[in-house]
Symmetry: C2
Subunit: 499 residues, 2 copies
């Protein structure tokens, strides 16, 4: 019944590989493959064989420039997610089930006093699991703070990680895990190019369980970790699927402690994650197509699976964020926002973000002294979600023309009646819907001016945005030519002064 074919690879087989790669390479000019959406309009009836032949002929005539080839596939990866009020405590059993014996618990000096940490510690104690607590995570981590965290954990030699906190905590834990598994790597080896070498992570890391205590970053589902690289005075990070947590434990009881202002700003991060991933360039317009799947970026552009998550997260955020901000006892809205943050995390974690996020990094990094209402910290702060949302009205007015249908669908999610809106107005209509939403949310700046920026700061903001290649490459409508790109960014910042 069963037959076995044993194959030892031959040199000839390997020699054939390059030729085959060329044969099966569909140049972007091929109508059937360069633009799959084309299939909506015609049905290619050519057989694969004749197709390959045609390509072969073309390839002989004009060699394919691999660096200009468009992507033809997308990959969807996400952490497993467990969701429920009170699930935090199960984490002890999870580590026991996976055989972990030495867990490094990562948190910050605020969260360590909260109920989430109490539940975590009780869960670990119940199962008799040895653990160490690192509570030195810096909010908005820097390379230096991450290096300190790595140096701290190395002597303990953990066999698993547990992050309890917001995005800063989870991101720091991801990098502690990475550099524990690659003890001899240079810190810049895995950091996104061009600031780092952008090497792919080529082996599995230790198990990491993430317990978010804010409803914002979605970091519990994603393979990215963001920090400030002090030497370059820029936000950058590491992004690779291998970095994603093994399990995200989303416990609505853990976000009840957020002050109203934190609900608002972390919710605005969710809003922009969903809007940006929904409107990012399609995956099959991204250039170049990776020659090895390990090089397919986590931020791939919009794709049919990320779309489902992003649009659902957008609808939930529009519905529940205002309630979560207004009423600290509205636990349903808070719970829905935690779910929305996670859904948006799966969406942008596989599709990416673009202009709002790219422009936000210099906005928060070049803060001229603004301190956001409701943040009781002894230093100036523009919360991440605020810095992201402040450019959103200008950004989506700009991107509207690239894909009016998607911008109209987003406007509809805000409750706009789009039945009589013209395609040319899609960006404007979405822009207005966002501005209205921000105003009604309350305590939000009406533009960069309210954050202390003026016309005179725009050049510096633009120069701080340019290095964010990884997200800018997904921005629809942004010019490839640097001079033109600079001009577009300048205009976006100008329009964001007051909206």
């Amino acid at each position: 019944m069963a037959s076995a074919i044993r194959v030892a690879p031959t040199k000839a087989a390997r020699a054939m590989s390059l030729l085959r790669t060329v044969q099966y390479t569909h140049p972007p000019s091929c109508p059937c493959h360069g633009n799959p959406s084309h299939h909506h309009h015609h049905k290619p009836s050519n057989s694969l064989l004749s197709h390959a032949k045609r390509n072969l002929q073309r390839n002989y005539a004009t060699p394919v420039d691999l660096s200009r080839q468009k992507e033809y596939a997308f990959e969807m990866a996400a952490s497993s997610i467990r969701f429920g009020p009170g699930v935090t405590k199960e984490v002890g059993m999870d580590f026991k089930n996976m055989g972990a014996k030495r867990v490094c618990v990562v948190t910050d000096s605020t969260v360590k006093h909260l109920n989430a940490m109490k539940q975590v510690q009780e869960g670990l104690d119940q199962e008799g699991i040895d653990y160490i607590v690192y509570d030195g995570v810096r909010v908005e981590p820097k390379d230096t703070s991450i290096k300190e965290a790595i140096a701290f954990v190395k002597p303990y030699a953990p066999d698993a990680f547990l992050a309890v906190g917001g995005g800063s905590v989870i991101d720091t834990a991801k990098l502690m895990n990475l550099y524990t598994c690659y003890p001899n790597a240079d810190f810049l080896d895995f950091v996104n190019a061009p600031l780092g070498k952008g090497l792919p992570i080529d082996k599995p890391l230790l198990p990491l369980i993430a317990v978010p205590t804010t409803a914002g970053t979605g970091s519990e589902t994603t393979g990215s970790a963001i920090f400030d690289l002090a030497s370059a005075r820029a936000k950058t990070g590491v992004a690779h699927r291998a970095l994603k947590p093994t399990l995200g434990i989303c416990d609505p009881l853990n976000t009840r402690t957020m002050p109203s202002a934190v609900h608002a700003s972390s919710g605005l991060d969710v809003l922009c994650h969903s809007l940006e991933s929904w409107t990012a360039i399609p995956y099959n317009e991204r250039i170049p197509r990776p020659q090895n799947p390990i090089n397919r970026p986590a931020y791939q552009g919009a794709n049919p699976i990320s779309d489902i998550f992003s649009l659902q997260a957008l609808r939930s955020t529009v519905k529940y964020l205002p309630r979560a901000v207004r009423d600290p006892d509205d636990h349903e809205a808070q719970s829905e926002m935690l779910l929305a943050a996670t859904l948006a995390g799966v969406g942008f974690g596989n599709a990416g973000v673009h202009l709002c996020h790219g422009m936000s990094y210099p906005v928060s990094g070049q803060n001229r002294g603004y301190k956001h209402t409701g943040y009781n910290v002894p230093y100036p702060i523009i919360p991440h979600g605020v810095s992201v949302a402040v450019t959103a009205p200008a950004v989506f007015r700009f991107t509207g023309a690239t894909n009016p249908e998607r911008h109209l669908a987003a406007a509809e999610a805000f409750g706009v009646d789009i039945s009589n809106v013209k395609r040319e107005s899609a960006g404007e209509v979405l822009s207005e819907a966002i501005a209205k939403f921000l105003e009604e949310l309350g305590d939000q700046p009406r533009g960069l001016k309210d954050l202390g920026f003026g016309k005179e700061h725009i050049d510096e903001l633009v120069e701080g945005t340019i290095p964010q290649k990884r997200v800018l490459m997904l921005a629809p409508g942004l010019a490839e030519e640097l001079g033109e790109e600079r001009e577009q960014l300048r205009k976006l910042f100008e329009e964001s002064l007051v909206h």
Copy 2:
């Protein structure tokens, strides 16, 4: 900045654990937790502390029957998915990237001749990876065929698996992987109770990449493997998250070879996966709540994340399945059906299926000689999708009253104008929409009579359904009392004779 707390678990800590478990146990009678949907109607403002106290008091008064506790959490797990025309070949690089050196390729005698296998073998050859091919998979596998497959692979001692084929192939590969990793386990150890012991899988298995060649089972994303247990004359299987493939490679070029009849029947499987998971009892009505997360079943009941996938898959199937069946050159529709099958896989893989699937097993197992049009095989066959869909009109008429909103939403996905439909008619309206859809699809039986069953066979069909506890427990409206359940099933089969 960083402080370290090292904790060695004490006996006292462990002794406290039972008490704490009781303290944090919310009995189903608690209005805030037994039924989270209750939160839509009121907002509990009690603090956690007073809440815990109240429960404690209640627990002293009436001891909690843990076996009757409702679930309070859900878990979403799915394989990573890569989707694109031509991606099959990347699999060689994937194995190389993960360091695999000896791959067991699992397929069947038909698929081994198809282009998918050619691409796979070329991909492996290019990377110089040693592999063995097992092509003895039986369509609709039996325990005996799976044991043969396991015996075949053991001496090869693979470090990874690759499944190329439909659900039967992928399921067989999952079980080959499982029993290769547990070489001393008894075959029934992991098989679903009550037929097997239903032990949880407590360690990671070898990497498994699945390349589906049909658009139906969604097995590339799920943690379940189904087979016939000859001794019990029943369908059963193994279901655990650990069984899910590492990666599903969905290549629309691989489903182009399906004959029209296979498009139809595998598409009907997708239709029922989405309908059943969408209407399954909610996760928080499932009993009992597991005392350890490793015992939380993969089939958990409908939950907010599975809902997104199930409804999207339903909409796509209604839109694209008729096109895919009618026109073999409609590659867009075929591609969308492959995506829908995968989305439905994520949906039902985390939520479960219920009556259509539970009743389908005796229907196909007790086939009295029917051979489906378009299947060129030398023996009688009721394709899985056909046996599943044949009871759908009766099933959803029956379940309609349990959740009219969901049944109306499903009817709307079929294009029914539900604006004037009464809630009481939800089941009837959905039932009619499904019957119409089946009729228009063509070549489908108009009930069990067309498949060769009569009234006289119903008792046997009912008795063949009763053991399908794992899916029947998710059926909304089905009685717990065996006599009543039997009566309900009898009526469902009777109504399915002609629809």
